[in-house]
């Protein structure tokens, strides 16, 4: 019992050290998630306990950078959740169409697969020329990869299925060129995506937008951090703006539940009340 308590304390000291030294704040992340990732790193680097990780993190920037990659969420895919993207086309695009220009904030975009998915939809719906997608993440390494738009073709079969099932109107293969084991996303998809470093935990509002899309990021946060980030989204959205969350995320435990109407309850699409 006691040794478990010690490791809990060690983890909270480690997160404090990472925050104070590097400014990245994981203190309100899911403890089960953090615990798993830290233990993984401990095994990989042959360290014996979490205090050794702390000592190494403070002195060794390369190691700190590796740990940062462990703790941040970089797993994503194109058109993840076909039903969500279908609903986006059916219920959200008609609203976006009424604006002379459209600003979208894709928060926590990781390596960018979903930002490209959004660009594809906007192009197919004839809206892309008047759209700006701000795709942000705090993980610069992931952002750089997103900007390059080069992905492994290992997943392409799944992406193709996701795309078709989500209501895609073209051949998915028309959006990239293949190069050995990789695919390179078309330049025309990149033109209106602005990739920017933004940390949901520590940074503030940077633009007024018509749509906020933040999927499967908040599940990693505790309730009070979720609430804080929801305030950020609320303040960024215009009245009548749209909020899209992951299929297991909601507003129920936040202060903002009453401030939106549900556009699609199952797909977690909300509209900010006027």
């Amino acid at each position: 019992m006691k040794s478990e308590d010690t490791s809990e304390l060690e983890i909270s000291l480690l997160l404090e050290a990472v925050y104070q030294k590097y400014g990245y704040d994981f203190r309100q992340y899911s403890k089960a998630h953090i615990n798993r990732r830290i233990r993984n790193r401990m095994r990989l680097s042959g360290l014996e306990d979490i205090s050794q990780i702390q000592s190494k993190v403070l002195k060794d920037e390369t190691f700190a950078y590796e740990l940062l990659q462990d703790l941040s969420i970089t797993v994503t895919e194109m058109f993840r959740d076909k039903d969500f993207y279908r609903s986006l086309r059916e219920n959200v695009i008609p609203i976006l169409r009424t604006y002379p220009f459209v600003k979208i904030w894709h928060a926590g975009c990781a390596t960018g697969e979903e930002a490209y998915s959004m660009a594809i939809i906007m192009q197919e719906e004839g809206l892309y020329d008047r759209t700006t997608i701000y795709a942000t993440d705090f993980n610069q390494y992931a952002l750089n990869r997103a900007k390059e738009g080069i992905f492994s073709n290992a997943m392409i079969k799944d992406y193709n299925i996701n795309y078709q099932l989500s209501g895609g109107k073209e051949f998915f293969s028309s959006y990239y060129t293949s190069n050995y084991d990789n695919i390179i996303m078309n330049q025309s998809l990149k033109k209106n995506i602005v990739w920017a470093n933004h940390n949901l935990v520590t940074d503030s509002v940077f633009a007024e937008v018509h749509l906020v899309l933040c999927r499967n990021v908040l599940i990693y946060f505790d309730n009070s951090l979720q609430n804080k980030v929801q305030k950020l989204f609320y303040d960024s959205l215009i009245n009548g703006g749209i909020l899209c969350l992951g299929s297991k995320e909601g507003l129920r435990f936040t202060d903002f539940y009453e401030k939106y109407i549900e556009l699609d309850k199952k797909q977690r699409i909300f509209k900010k009340k006027y």
Binding site: E4, E8, S30, K31, A32, H33, N35, R36, I73, V75, T76, R80, K82, D158, I161, L165, N216, I219, Y220, N223, G246, K248, E249, G250, F253
Partner: protein, 196 residues
């Protein structure tokens, strides 16, 4: 010993096995049960509703941050890993697949072991891979009880056989016997005897 939670890992052949267990457990079965069943990423949760219709217990998909309650059965949603926090609430993650699976049995079992320690029962059922082996090992290390479906009675023998090769299970039983044991264990006056 008063057990506080049961975790079940199951893969191919799992629908039949889960249906058997949950239609046999009585409505006053008071220990929460948390299940990872490998399903396709495109699977919806209709099968959970069907399972619920056949059971005396409340069977539902585990929600993010949901508090774990007695008398309920929680199933990991497809395409998410399911973890348990110290305060006995659920966390979901989209982290990379483990053993080619998301949800992975190991992820649930390892996090459950940390929280419930010797008050946890881990059960590995039919399946054709080796997910759950690391997790059941962790459950044993932290003092929990390990029940493995007898591979000879399982639709796919690999997963239980892999678990048996890695640990000294407390019980290796058919589904019928697993149900009987669970009902017996949860009786208030149950005297627990280790077989090994």
């Amino acid at each position: 010993m008063q057990y506080e939670a049961i975790v079940i890992g199951v893969s191919s052949g799992g629908m039949m096995a889960l249906k058997f267990i949950f239609s046999a457990l009585p409505s006053d079965f008071h220990i929460p049960i948390i299940v990872v069943q490998h399903v396709s990423t495109h699977s919806d949760n209709e099968w959970i509703k069907l399972l619920n219709d056949k059971s005396n217990l409340i069977i539902k998909e585990a929600d993010e941050k949901e508090k774990i309650e007695t008398g309920k059965v929680y199933i990991a949603p497809s395409n998410y890993h399911l973890m348990i926090e110290k305060d006995k609430t659920f966390s979901l993650t989209i982290d990379e697949r483990v053993n080619f699976a998301r949800p992975a049995i190991d992820v649930l079992f390892e996090s459950a072991a940390e929280v419930y320690k010797n008050k946890l029962i881990g059960i590995v059922l039919t399946g054709s891979n080796n997910d759950g082996t690391k997790g059941i090992k962790r459950i044993k290390e932290l003092g929990g009880l390990a029940i493995i479906q007898d591979p000879e009675t399982a639709e796919s023998r690999n997963m239980p056989a892999s678990a048996i090769a890695a640990i000294l299970p407390d019980y290796i039983l058919s589904l019928e016997k697993i149900v009987q044991l669970l009902i017996k264990i949860t009786q208030p006056n149950f005297e627990f005897q280790l077989k090994n």
